[in-house]
């Protein structure tokens, strides 16, 4: 998997932790935690003044995190299906309502045709299969920047 930010491939600085290897004490700034892992580790993250990544699925609500967003250096929202459009609204709310200015990443089942929509809603980058990179960049370049919405 690679990280693509507009046309540029970016290094992934975060690792997800499987449930077997998970332990509250091992959490680092490069950890990408699931919602459950985060809840378990919340106290330590706060006391150690850490900033971590959080990994949400498209059917998980942001509501329970809205007062804790300063604890995250990145929020990754994973599409269960490209047809599930909730993450577009989640990203908008992160930016416009909660004024979150960390990194927001999309992953999961997404299509290159959605790239520009994702960026316009507030995502910074996408996690995709390296084999599809050319296609994603091609569709990104096809966009002429003409939109009806602000």
């Amino acid at each position: 998997m690679i990280i693509l930010e507009k046309q540029t491939e970016k290094k992934n600085l975060y690792q997800r932790i499987s449930q077997d290897e998970f332990s509250v004490n091992k959490i680092k700034t490069s950890s990408m935690l699931s919602l459950n892992q985060f809840m378990e580790a919340e106290k330590r993250i706060k006391s150690k003044n850490l900033k971590v990544g959080i990994f949400l699925n498209s059917d998980q609500s942001l509501d329970c995190l809205k007062d804790k967003l300063e604890l995250f250096s990145i929020i990754q929202i994973n599409f269960k299906s490209f047809k599930d459009g909730r993450p577009f609204t989640m990203a908008k709310e992160l930016r416009k309502l909660h004024l979150y200015n960390g990194e927001v990443r999309a992953s999961g089942h997404i299509l290159p045709d959605q790239f520009v929509f994702l960026l316009r809603c507030g995502f910074d980058n996408v996690e995709i299969d390296g084999k599809e990179k050319k296609e994603w960049i091609e569709l990104y370049n096809m966009d002429e920047g003409l939109y009806y919405q602000p």
Partner: protein
């Protein structure tokens, strides 16, 4: 009429290019059918029983003669020489080939047309009163508002993957001809003191669980329109159900939360997320309104003269309405002739109609949600000539609002979802009631026919609604009575067990007998009588005689 800006042209051209790329990727196997489907649907391309179907948008039902000619040309070049006008004021071609579709879209873009968002789980073509801007009872012309919403909703980055499709309709009149109360959002322009704003209704719809929309805003300021729509869509996109396609429309969400709670969430989102950049200022609004000014129509005292030709007189009585400019008429063209499926027109009719529109109606044509067409501005002095031309084309059937002016979905003859045919039923009705005098005796009455529970033929809101069902491999038809899509909208009630296609006409006849018997004056139309006597009276007559063995 609206004219594309340079930006509009570029956006549409960009989409054609993008769709060409998507079709290419599909054909060479880079994307699967599952992935291609939402992409093609967003460009109005379906796969039906026998072929692909392309649905072309006719925003708020308004067409120029040039556009109509292009549609005729496409019908001839890429299809089988005809098109089907739909209840969302669009047109469908039933036989395009997949590799041709990007070419068709490119040709359409030359006349400022497209197929964007005519399908898929996104905001669909905005529909409007087909008499917008033509009558005196209007608060304000809804078309400029449709155009403003069309722009905002086109390729909306956030709302292109909604839980389900999303339909918006606007009326500028108390007398609702746009069926706003059976839309996901219905907007009605109203006057409060000297100010004009919108009443907002939400959560109406048909399908397997029909609902009448509920009011959530009594007076929305014009400047806030887009921010308020955005608040409704934000709420829906987050909370609408995605686990069950039949429960995914906004009507289900509104009813599960309760309209008060839903309104609260929308108001909150509106308050917190409203974007200054989405606010509409007077200059922007005026600029759009400019496009929709009436052409240079002459005011005069000329009345339509009675002719010795009874056919013409009937047509005048049934298919014309006085224009707000004295001396002119609005001509309704029925696409419900005896011989063609409701809403169908062939390429020859389209070409010639375009010529008629150029000669007599400032090159304008409109499509109604009842699957008819309109010539919006015809001089009374030229109306006989117009009739004569239309009559030659079999486009002068005098039946607007009468029993043979049915609304009808394509049914199992075309549609992959249908459970029964609907076009043959409408043809049976046309044949049975072909005499104008007989029809006139029944007064205004809406029969609406759907070939399955998805209700594309609007049967729930037909005065008489007919729903085609499959019972052990045989087509049966359930009848509902008392539906209406007007300002007094109501959902029809089921009369009882369904009828075979042979018995259906007998049943309709009996329903009409009950109506005739219970009329207290000649002015009583079907709905008045139905609302007075209730469904039981109809049931009694219906099943006592035909029995329940159908």
């Amino acid at each position: 009429m609206y004219k594309y800006s340079e930006k509009d042209k570029k956006i549409i051209a960009g989409r054609v290019k993008q769709f060409r790329n998507q079709v290419q990727r599909r054909l060479n196997g880079k994307i699967s059918e599952e992935e291609f489907k939402p992409l093609r649907l967003m460009n109005g391309l379906y796969l039906q029983l026998h072929a692909y179907m392309l649905r072309v948008a006719i925003p708020y039902g308004e067409l120029s003669s040039r556009q109509l000619r292009k549609l005729a040309e496409i019908a001839d070049k890429y299809d089988r020489g005809y098109g089907h006008f739909t209840t969302r004021q669009n047109i469908q071609f039933n036989w395009p080939k997949l590799p041709d579709v990007p070419d068709i879209l490119e040709e359409l873009s030359k006349v400022e047309m497209h197929a964007i968002q005519t399908s898929g789980n996104c905001i669909r073509n905005i529909s409007a009163d087909h008499l917008a801007g033509l009558t005196n009872d209007e608060v304000e012309d809804p078309r400029p508002w449709c155009e403003i919403i069309r722009k905002w909703s086109t390729f909306h980055p956030e709302f292109s993957f909604l839980p389900r499709k999303f339909k918006i309709a606007i009326t500028g009149c108390e007398n609702d001809r746009a069926a706003i109360l059976v839309h996901d959002i219905g907007l009605k322009l109203i006057k409060k003191g000297s100010r004009i704003g919108f009443q907002v209704f939400v959560g109406g719809g048909q399908g397997r669980t029909p609902y009448i929309a509920k009011k959530i805003n009594d007076f929305l300021l014009k400047k806030d329109l887009l921010n308020y729509l955005e608040a409704i869509l934000t709420t829906y996109n987050q909370l609408g159900r995605r686990d069950n396609i039949y429960k995914a429309r906004i009507k289900i969400l509104v009813n599960q939360l309760g309209v008060e709670k839903f309104k609260e969430l929308v108001d909150e989102s509106f308050k917190k997320l409203s974007d200054k950049k989405l606010e509409l200022n007077e200059t922007t609004i005026q600029k759009i309104f400019k496009f929709f000014e009436l052409p240079n129509i002459k005011h005069c005292n000329e009345k339509i003269s009675i002719s010795s030709n009874q056919k013409f007189n009937n047509w005048i009585k049934q298919n014309t309405i006085p224009h707000k400019i004295l001396g002119n008429s609005i001509v309704l063209i029925s696409l419900k002739s005896e011989n063609r499926p409701p809403g169908d027109a062939n390429s020859m009719q389209m070409y010639k109609l375009a010529n008629i529109a150029d000669k007599f109606s400032f090159g304008e044509i409109r499509v109604t949600h009842e699957q008819n067409l309109v010539l919006p501005h015809v001089k009374n002095s030229e109306i006989y000539e117009v009739w004569n031309e239309l009559d030659k084309l079999e486009l002068a059937t005098p039946n607007i609002d009468l029993i043979t002016d049915t609304i009808c979905c394509p049914g199992m003859d075309y549609c992959a979802l249908a459970t029964a045919r609907s076009i043959p039923i409408s043809q049976q009705i046309s044949n049975f009631f072909k005499d104008y005098g007989d029809q006139k005796k029944m007064g205004n009455i809406k029969i609406k026919i759907s070939g399955c529970i998805n209700a594309c033929g609007h049967h729930h809101v037909g005065n008489i609604g007919i729903l085609g069902l499959d019972r052990n491999g045989k087509e049966f038809y359930q009848i509902t009575l008392g539906g209406s899509s007007k300002q007094d909208a109501s959902i029809g009630q089921i009369v009882g067990p369904s009828f075979s296609s042979e018995n259906l006409i007998i049943a309709i006849k009996k329903i009409l007998q009950t109506y005739q018997k219970n009329k207290s004056s000649d002015k009583d139309d079907f709905m008045t009588v139905f609302r007075r006597i209730g469904i039981e009276e109809f049931k009694k007559n219906l099943y006592d005689n035909t029995g329940k063995t159908n």
